[in-house]
């Protein structure tokens, strides 16, 4: 199975707690999105069409014909786009906390970005994780944000995807889908809406907010294993019964 992380993050969101649980059942592939984590930097191609082509190209290189695909946050949108584009290559889909790109808050981060924003972010980071972000990390993060926001097409590409959810034809999607959302998340309405659009889907709420994979990694991993291991008949029955 292939795991896609979210925007401004990297594969470490899965690596330590979620992937080891999945790896007991599946061959797990994680990768860093372009310009994220340890991946090479690119100036363009941050729209869902390009990002989903990247997933399929990765599968081609690894000789994976059909996979379970999971994505978190913006990665969840990439996963949805990939399943719409190449349904024959996705056996099951897990969408974790995919936001509605029409929501201004997600896109405003880009407009509001400045070193002050990062410092504020770091202060909150320190509160929640008890780890002080050092000077080298500050600079490294600052360089990544600065590159993405000022040297790439990420902002324009994200604005172009504003109407993705409304325009996508989810009724044609017959890939069994698990929607995992935080019970306190701002994105929960998107999960509830997707549940009404994707026929073979189920919505599971886990205690937490948008950061639920960090807050409850064990529950996220177990929910995924449970969904991906159950027989197809059961999935269909659950959703129609």
């Amino acid at each position: 199975m292939v795991l896609i992380h979210g925007m401004f993050s990297n594969l470490s969101i899965y690596y330590f707690n979620i992937a080891p649980v999945l790896a007991k059942h599946f061959h797990v592939v994680m990768y860093d999105l372009k310009s994220h984590g340890m991946s090479e930097r690119f100036t363009d191609g941050y729209d869902l069409e390009s990002m989903s082509s990247d997933v399929l190209a990765l599968m081609d290189v690894l000789n994976l014909k059909k996979v379970h695909l999971a994505g978190y946050s913006f990665g969840g949108l990439i996963a949805l786009k990939t399943a719409l584009k190449a349904p024959e290559r996705i056996s099951r889909l897990v969408v974790i906390e995919a936001p509605d790109p029409q929501d201004e808050k997600a896109r405003n981060i880009i407009d509001e970005y400045s070193k002050e924003f990062l410092e504020h972010y770091v202060a909150n980071f320190t509160d929640t994780t008890k780890v002080q972000m050092g000077k080298r990390q500050m600079e490294k993060n600052h360089r990544m944000y600065e590159f993405l926001f000022e040297k790439t097409s990420i902002k324009a590409d994200m604005i172009r995807e504003k109407h993705f959810l409304g325009e996508a034809n989810f009724s044609e999607l017959d890939t069994p889908t698990l929607l995992l959302y935080g019970s306190e998340s701002n994105c929960k309405p998107t999960g509830e809406w997707l549940k009404t659009q994707i026929i073979p889907s189920e919505l599971e709420l886990i205690s937490g907010d948008h950061n639920v994979p960090i807050q409850e990694p064990a529950q996220i991993a177990e929910a995924m294993v449970h969904f991906l291991s159950q027989s197809l008949t059961k999935t269909v029955t659950q959703n129609h019964g």
């Binding site: 330590f16 080891p20 972000m133």
Partner: protein
């Protein structure tokens, strides 16, 4: 005929040198020059390594020792406080015992 053992057990000093080399590859020689890396260096506080850098470091350990060591499994068994306090000596001792 004797079989040559290629996976000779490394001592603590050799492990320290090996791991220091991995850290240098991950965070870059220019930063390592400014740091005094010792067995007491902690990953998050002293070396300022973030999660993706610890991933790279783990992958290097995996590539070097193979199935001999379940480094990721060992890390994921730790809680947040243990991870924050993780230092090189703890890793050296862990690998030494696994060998």
């Amino acid at each position: 005929m004797d079989t040559i053992n290629n996976t000779l057990q490394l001592n603590h000093e050799e492990l320290f040198t090996l791991l220091k080399g991995f850290i240098t590859e991950v965070i870059g020689a220019e930063f390592v020059e400014e740091m005094d890396i010792t067995p007491d260096s902690s990953f998050t506080k002293d070396l300022e390594m973030d999660s993706i850098e610890i991933v790279s470091f783990s992958e290097k350990i995996k590539a070097h020792f193979g199935d001999q060591i379940d480094f990721t499994g060992w890390l994921s068994s730790m809680d947040l406080d243990e991870l924050i306090n993780l230092d090189l000596r703890m890793i050296i001792n862990y690998i030494y015992e696994c060998q």
